[in-house]
Amino acid sequence: MIKARSGETLVKNRHQNLGLSDEVVLSMYENMLKARRVDERLWLLNRAGKIPFVVSCQGQESAQVGAAFGLNREKDYVAPYYRDFGFVFAWGMTIKEMMLNNFAKAEDPSSAGRQMPGHFSYRKLRMLSHSSPVTTQNPHAVGIALAAKIKGDDLVSFVDFGEGSSNQGDFHEAANFAAVHKLPVIFMCENNQYAISVGLKHQLACAHVSDRAIGYGMFGKSFDGNDPLAAYAAVKEAADRAHRGEGPTLLEANCYRLMPHTSDDNDMTYRTKEEVNEAKKHDGVLTFAAYLRSVGVLTEVREKEMEDQIRNEIDEATDYAENAPFADPDSVLRYVYEEKN
């Protein structure tokens, strides 16, 4: 499909080809923007001394949001990891909930402030609880799929993790288990080129993380992680395979971590400003906006509306979360085991 706009060059409408309506891609963009703007706000709050810690999603929103849209958001189970702001927004978490999480308040749906920010969990949304030791969520996602298979429930189990984390034993064991039992699992590696300070070539020596798929006898694919449509297409394909009983898929989203590892990190000790600036040119939030503008889907008016609404939501959510109560200190003794009454 080709659309011509006055004064513009011809740009291919890629999303129609994928069966995505203009409203859907706008919603994708909106979620990406939410993630980006929330993330930016968190850094400001951190600098202002209002929150002690930020873990950032910047540079990975496209892959995250595209992936979520490729799944069934009413039915599938997901195990996102700590950078997955874009994913959890697209999955149904609100900005207010995200702020409650970052302020670690009692109403935080992930853990009521028990866990560090970004350790997402939301039972109501079929989002598993996530811990800090990396890659432990991979076998959990496989367990969801195994259980669904035993029960005869048709769903997909989706899990995210970093490329550094793909070197943990649990990555291997989970992938192998899923493949042997042909389970409907999608493993998506968000390859942002760094594991804290350690660059890709000191983490792994294969060309693509998805090259590991063949060693499990599963389908594997790498895609441009700055392109939400590529993410959507890859995850959709993997989900279709899973529903058809063709087993798990290993995906790799190639992206770049635009911010330091966390607010505790100083990335200039191990990479250069130039490298980061170069990567910013490919920033999916910008390039996708440009695409949407070029195909006439994102108008100036709509864009302003979105930005305004998100800003307002963030302002309100920040106020709310900042003023919301912490959990009762005595609650630290609760929920070690089931409480029978």
Partner: protein, 329 residues
């Protein structure tokens, strides 16, 4: 009415079978648990009865066994995961300690992990270093876990059923030497034994022995012998070694004022050390003698060669001697 007599391992199988037929969410997974029925035959017959969907031969990967079990449990199933030998559960330590034990707490009660991990443990079977160990101490400091170690077929059945029905992760250690050695009456009907409760296996007045697992039987044998000498032994079987049944320990210690703490694990940092601490905190003025601990030496694990294994393992005569010494104190 005569109750059926089962071996310790038959009680395991019966409990699994009954729970699987009672609740379709219960399923079994592990290495060789399917066709082979387990290397000890604990899952014998279950594959034929319940099929490969509910009796799952997994790849050789313990972290996946635990981790996949956790995921399935979060979905609402009640996985019973077998670790072929307790010695081989360490690759799963991260999944058990960081994940299973902490899921309820970290999600503020939203998610839970109703999973049971069965693992044969213990020595005296010519298993060498890595098929003889007691692993409970490694986990017996992890809030969120429950650790059960039954000593009799009756307790096996009741405690395994309770573990499977429990809504939190339970490590269920089965003594592999007890598997065929220990037999006992087991009711045919459905019963559970509450987790976290110790059990007085013998009432006595002179010396209290606090122990668990195979050592309960060593203590019982010693008590029988010593009864002839006029020494009356009180025996408390911990049954759940984490969290411990504090009240029962305090009561048992007070009962006689002389306490032998007995484990086949290596001594330093073992679960009987915690029992000793509880007694030291609570029973100072009730004691007529210092507590005594009898345990394996603080060396890695028992060797394979017969005479070395024998030297390493706690022996019934040692138990007898310790009780006698305490009685005479």
């Amino acid at each position: 009415m005569q109750l059926p007599v089962l071996s310790y391992i038959e009680a395991v199988t019966q409990a699994l079978d009954e729970e699987m037929s009672r609740d379709e969410n219960v399923f079994v997974m592990g290495e060789d648990v399917g066709k082979r029925g387990g290397v000890f035959q604990a899952t014998k017959g279950l594959y034929d009865k319940y099929g490969e969907n509910r009796v799952i031969d997994t790849p050789l990967a313990e972290s996946a066994i635990a981790g996949v079990g956790i995921g399935a449990a979060m979905y609402g199933m009640r996985p019973v995961a077998e670790m072929q030998f307790s010695d081989f559960m360490l690759p799963a330590a991260n999944q058990i300690i960081s994940e299973a034990a902490k899921t309820r707490y970290r999600s503020n009660n939203e998610w839970s992990v109703p999973m049971t991990i069965r693992a044969p443990f213990g020595g005296g079977v010519h298993g060498g270093l890595y098929h003889s160990q007691s692993m409970e101490a490694i986990f017996a400091n992890v809030p969120g876990l429950k650790i059960v170690i039954p000593s009799t077929p009756y307790d096996v059945k009741g405690l395994l059923k309770a573990s499977i029905r429990d809504n939190d992760p339970v490590i269920f250690f089965e003594h592999k030497r007890a598997y065929r050695l220990i037999k006992g009456e087991v009711p045919v009907d459905d019963y559970t034994i509450p987790l976290g409760t110790a059990d007085v296996k013998r009432v006595g007045t002179d010396v209290t022995v606090i122990t668990y697992g195979l050592m309960v039987h060593y203590a019982m044998q010693a008590a029988d012998k010593l009864a002839a000498e006029g020494i009356s032994t009180h025996i408390l079987d911990l049954r759940t070694v984490y969290p411990l049944d504090k009240e029962a320990i305090i009561e048992a210690a007070r009962k006689t004022g002389k306490v032998l703490l007995l484990t086949e694990d290596t001594k330093e940092g073992s679960v009987i050390s915690e029992a000793a601490a509880i007694i030291a905190e609570n029973c100072l003025f009730d004691l007529d003698a210092p507590i005594r601990r009898l345990a394996a030496p603080d060396a890695p694990a028992m060797p394979y060669a017969g005479p070395l294994e024998h030297a390493f393992m706690v022996k019934p005569e040692q138990v007898e001697k310790e009780i006698r010494n305490l009685a005479e104190f």
